[in-house]
Each structure stands twice: as structure tokens, then as C-alpha cells.
Symmetry: C2
Subunit: 343 residues, 2 copies
């Protein structure tokens, strides 16, 4: 079926490392024409394209998707898309919200919105804003980064799980069909593992075991995933207890994770890769961290269900304080002037 | 009584901001001759003396105590002292231990050792190493720092509480007499509040309410004591719960702290002073932090007594990981080489 389709038009919002590989996968299959929206790397990408070193695709230089933009195009001016794929960071505590950001391009009741983003409950504001639109859940296990603008290194294969977030206003069949269509287009190039996931909520909780815990602890301590395993008792007394709290919250929410998940996640990145997970990369660059969706939502969800989460609570409020510091640095909060003291 | 005494000989180990003000207080009263041991600022202090801006003493330039050294003098070579006053950082997880450091100058059964240092159980290794020596407990509420070598700014008055750590090998009377003698010499200059404290253990626990909690949270988040009060929910969900755990541990250890202590400690530093507490100053300078005595000992003490300390536990292991990072940077731990990956 996939090979007789006409190309879908895809607006890909977020032209960083994950977005670039997603665009490449979609265009490689020739079943999608991708318009990518870049921000900080727009000049580099629009002039020279992407320079990619990828475990899935090999070396590709000066590659561009169909179109490179630096702002969300307007549906009202004729730019309509079958899909809007969001691979930006999702930082709900810093405006604009994702639903406001993509608003100009959304055709109510038509555009399928795909969230390839971390964290829990990320679909809720989108379904609230666009109650007649299908919202797909993408859980990506890729390892990729952008050491300089437009230069993408992909270390870990792109493994993408796709399913629909349950939108109560739409029929399950329509939502499932959209997920199947997206998967077939994304997979058509044959360079990636993209599959329909009928229990994508479970997959999302599973990834939280890594993200809520290892990711946040690495960000707070400024240690990568290799070093945190070497640093005295950090795994035994921080990572493991935090992960067990997520496993308990997932179970309370109806998602039983396998007994091996904790060790699997601790050992996921090879130790001697010394990989900084996403929130650590963000704190090192002075970027905002996705702690609300990655840590706050599972904490609130678990505590609402009566699960004690003492480790996650402390990690969450530490991340909040670290985010606040960054907000102050960027002028989003202001503080009283310094008093007149000796020093 | 104090004014007829001959001068006591004092070895003051640690010539940073707190040590410099202690030396100045002791020499101002003319009842002590201070030999100060400096490390990183030895060249500055031995050549130009201290340049001090002090709320207690005013401006004093090019001031030197009786003697400035850069190493612990040896009792075996004739350098004996009535007191060894230790105002260094106390970092038991990084050698040398304090008892080893001062060993050359200690005359067993004679030298009185004074610990003007933070944290709990700091006397234990010293009494174990020198079972016949008096060890005095000094709890200092000074606010001072050293913005450049030999330049000392003192913002907060030096309020020093002195009492004896109970050494079971010695008579309480002898120990109390030593504490009284030290207090009278330290107070003789009249510029400072130094008092005999018959419940100095209580005072030490009281200070831990600030140090275990605010100090460590500021160090972990890289926020000063003003900003941590402004940063969203940090006080409500981190500082206050942590402080209440210390209050509960103190109570279990027999030290009932007043109901107001939590708010007193939160508001101790004026908000608009934006004061970095000691561990934050240390992390910013890349120095080791005193987290074992400040955080680890009260945590172990409290948990041993059955007090739940979930907040402190997380803070403790985060500090341990941060300390490990610094140990790696300084070559005290080594890690496997980086593997051969794309990036």
C-alpha cells in the first residue's frame, strides 16, 4: 500500500538533531515532502544544508529537505500540511506553548499533529486547543546531537514508536489509520525502525524510567551517564530509587513494566560513551530543560495515584530551581536589586 | 582574671577569611600570639599582610599576626603551642585528615585543639587520635569571605560560641577551664561576641539547620541564599522540608530546637545580600565541599535514631556525586577511557 501513495506534505517543527534525522527518514522514503522549520541553525541549514554522520544513513553532506523555513508558515496563506511533526523541546513553563507556536499552520479537524517529544501528558494542551485533530504519540530512542549548527552526529539508531494519543472526540479507527499511514511513510526508506505501537503509553512510561531519573540526575550533578555510574553511590542511592518510583507510578497508572527495566535503562548507554543525556546537554548550553513533562507530570500522576515518590519530588524541585536560574539569566523573572553591603 | 594572663601561643591553621578574623580578634586582645598557617594566600599574606574591611574592626591594611607560615611547624623542633585553632575546611573524604594535618604540632596531653568548623562529629577523629588532649567546639556565625588572596571582607559580626567536646578520658572541669580560658583570650579585644556555651552541641545542631539544608541546596542549584528564596517553590518544597528533618533529628538526639528556628535560618541572610553560602562558594571555585560533616553526619545520626530524612538523603547523595566530579577533575579518581564512537 505504502508504495502507491502520493507524497504527504509534512511540516517538521524543530530542525535540531532529532528533527534533521526525522526529515531525512521521511524524505528518503519518497512518500513525504518535508518543510523544516529551523531556529538557531537556520542560516547554516538554509545556506549549506545539513552535514550528517549517521549510524543509520552514513555520511551525507549538504543535504536539504524540500524546504527550509525560519518561521511557522500560515495555513491562511495557502501553506497546508497533512502532518505537523513536532520535535522541538517541549518546555511548557516557558512561553510560547507548543499549541500556540504551531497555531498558524494547523487546519482544525484536518492536520495530523505528531509529537516526537519526551514526557507525559504532552498531548493534553494540544487536544484541548485542537479537539478535532488527531494527535500522534512518537517515542524516539534515537541518540543524536548537533555539535555545531547544521552538523548532526547520530550515534544510536533511530527507533521510533508511533501510536495515537486517545482523543475522545474522534473514532479510534481514524486515529489508528493516521498512525499507520505515518509509520508507513516514515519507514518507507528502509533505514530506520519505525513501528506502530498499540501500547504507546506503556512505551512512553518505559522511556520515563530513563528520562525522569537518569536524565534529571545527570543534569543536576553535571555528570554524564557514564560518570554517574562511576560516581560512588549515585546509582544505588539516587538513580535506582528514583527509577523504582517511576516503575511504581507506571504500575499504578496501569502500565506494568518488566522487572529488568531499571537495569536496562541504567546500562542503556555504554558507560565509556560518557553520553550527556538531553537535560544535561541543555543545562550545559544554558538552554531550558524539559523537566515539567519529563519529571513533573509523572510525579503529579504518581502522587495523585497514591505512590510515594520522595526521590523524584526532591529532583523535581531542584530542577525547578535550576530552570528558575536560567529564567533569571534570560530576563524572564526579575529580582530585587542588591542591597548596599560591604562586598 | 584575663588581663593578668601572659600571652598564650596559638597556632591558627587556615588563613582564609574566618581564620584571618579569628587571628585579628586573638591578637587585638593582646592575650595571644598567633602563628597563622596559610596555603593558597601565603605569598600575599607573608609579603603584604591582610587587607581587611570588617564590620567589627573597620578598615585595616597590611596587618600581620605574629608569624605567618606556609606549613605546620613541628613540636619536635621546639614549636609548641598552647592552642591549635583549626579553621580550615574539614573534608574528611579527601586526605589528609585534619588529625594527620596538625600532627607535627600536637603535643599529646597538652595542646588544646579548637575546632572552629562546621558539621557534626568532627571531634571524633581528633579525640581518637589524641585521646589525652582537650578538643574545644567552636561554632562561628561570622559572615566573611576572601575575594582575592589576603583581602578579607567581613559582612556579618563574628559571633563565636565555645564549649568543650566531651572527651571521656578527661575531667569535665579541666575541659571547661580550657574553654573559659580560650573565650577570655578571644574576647579580650572587645570587638567580638565570643561566649562560653554550656550547650554547644545544641548550638552546633542549630547551625546545621542552615548548613545541612540551605547551604547544600544552594550548592546543588548554584543559587545564593537570596535567589533560592525567590526561585518558585524551592523554600516550600526543598529548604523547609529539609530543615524540618534536621529539627527532627536534633530532637531525637536530645536537642530541642525552638519552633522559630526554620524561619530564622531561612531569613538569616538578608535576601538582597544574595549571599553564596560556603558550599556554594566552594563549588563555584572548584573546591571540595564539606558535605560529609555538614550533611552526611546529621543524616547518619538522624537515620540511626529512626528519623525519616528523605529530602536530606537525596541532597546528600547529590552532593556526593558533585564531590566525585571534583575528585575526577583533580585526578583523585580515574575512569575508563572513552570508547570509539561517532562523536
Amino acid at each position: 500500500m505504502a508504495d502507491v501513495k502520493s507524497k504527504a506534505s509534512v511540516l517538521l517543527v524543530g530542525g535540531g538533531s532529532v528533527g534533521a534525522i526525522a526529515a531525512l527518514n521521511l524524505e528518503t522514503g519518497k512518500q513525504a515532502a518535508v518543510t523544516i522549520v529551523c531556529r538557531s541553525n537556520f542560516n547554516a541549514v538554509s545556506q549549506n544544508g545539513y552535514n550528517i554522520k549517521s549510524c543509520d544513513h552514513g555520511k551525507i553532506n549538504n543535504w536539504k529537505p524540500t524546504k527550509v523555513l525560519n518561521a511557522i508558515p500560515k495555513a491562511s496563506e495557502g501553506s497546508t500540511f497533512d502532518y505537523i511533526v513536532c520535535v522541538t523541546k517541549n518546555v511548557p513553563d516557558v512561553p510560547p506553548s507548543l499549541s500556540d507556536l504551531i497555531r498558524p499552520a494547523v487546519v482544525p479537524g484536518k492536520t495530523v499533529i505528531v509529537l516526537i517529544q519526551n514526557g507525559l501528558n504532552i498531548e493534553k494542551p494540544l487536544i484541548a486547543a485542537y479537539p478535532q485533530n488527531i494527535v500522534l504519540s512518537g517515542v524516539s530512542l534515537i541518540g543524536a546531537n548537533e555539535p555545531s549548527p547544521g552538523h548532526i552526529d547520530q550515534d544510536f539508531p533511530d527507533t521510533l514508536f508511533i501510536g495515537a494519543f486517545a482523543n475522545p472526540n474522534l473514532s479510534p479507527q481514524t486515529q489508528k489509520a493516521a498512525a499507520e499511514d505515518f509509520v508507513s511513510r516514515y519507514s518507507a526508506g528502509g533505514k530506520t525502525q519505525c513501528s506502530l505501537d498499540t501500547r504507546v503509553d506503556w512505551t512512553r512510561w518505559r522511556k520515563l524510567v530513563y528520562n525522569s531519573c537518569l536524565n534529571s540526575i545527570c543534569a543536576i550533578t553535571d555528570l554524564d551517564t557514564g560518570r554517574i555510574r562511576l560516581a560512588d553511590d549515585a546509582v544505588a542511592h539516587l538513580v535506582r530509587p528514583a527509577m523504582l518510583e517511576i516503575v511504581a507510578a507506571a504500575k499504578a497508572a496501569g502500565h506494568e513494566l518488566p522487572a529488568t527495566v531499571v537495569d536496562d535503562m541504567i546500562e542503556m548507554d555504554p558507560l565509556d560513551m560518557y553520553l550527556p543525556p538531553s537535560m544535561l546537554s541543555d543545562t550545559r548550553k544554558g538552554n531550558f530543560i524539559e523537566y515539567e513533562n519529563i519529571l513533573g507530570e509523572p510525579l503529579r500522576e504518581g502522587e495523585k495515584l497514591g505512590v510515594p515518590m520522595p526521590t523524584l519530588r526532591v529532583l523535581y524541585y531542584l530542577c525547578q530551581a535550576i530552570q528558575w536560574k536560567n529564567k533569571e539569566l534570560r530576563g524572564l523573572v526579575s529580582i530585587p536589586p542588591k542591597g548596599n553591603y560591604v562586598t
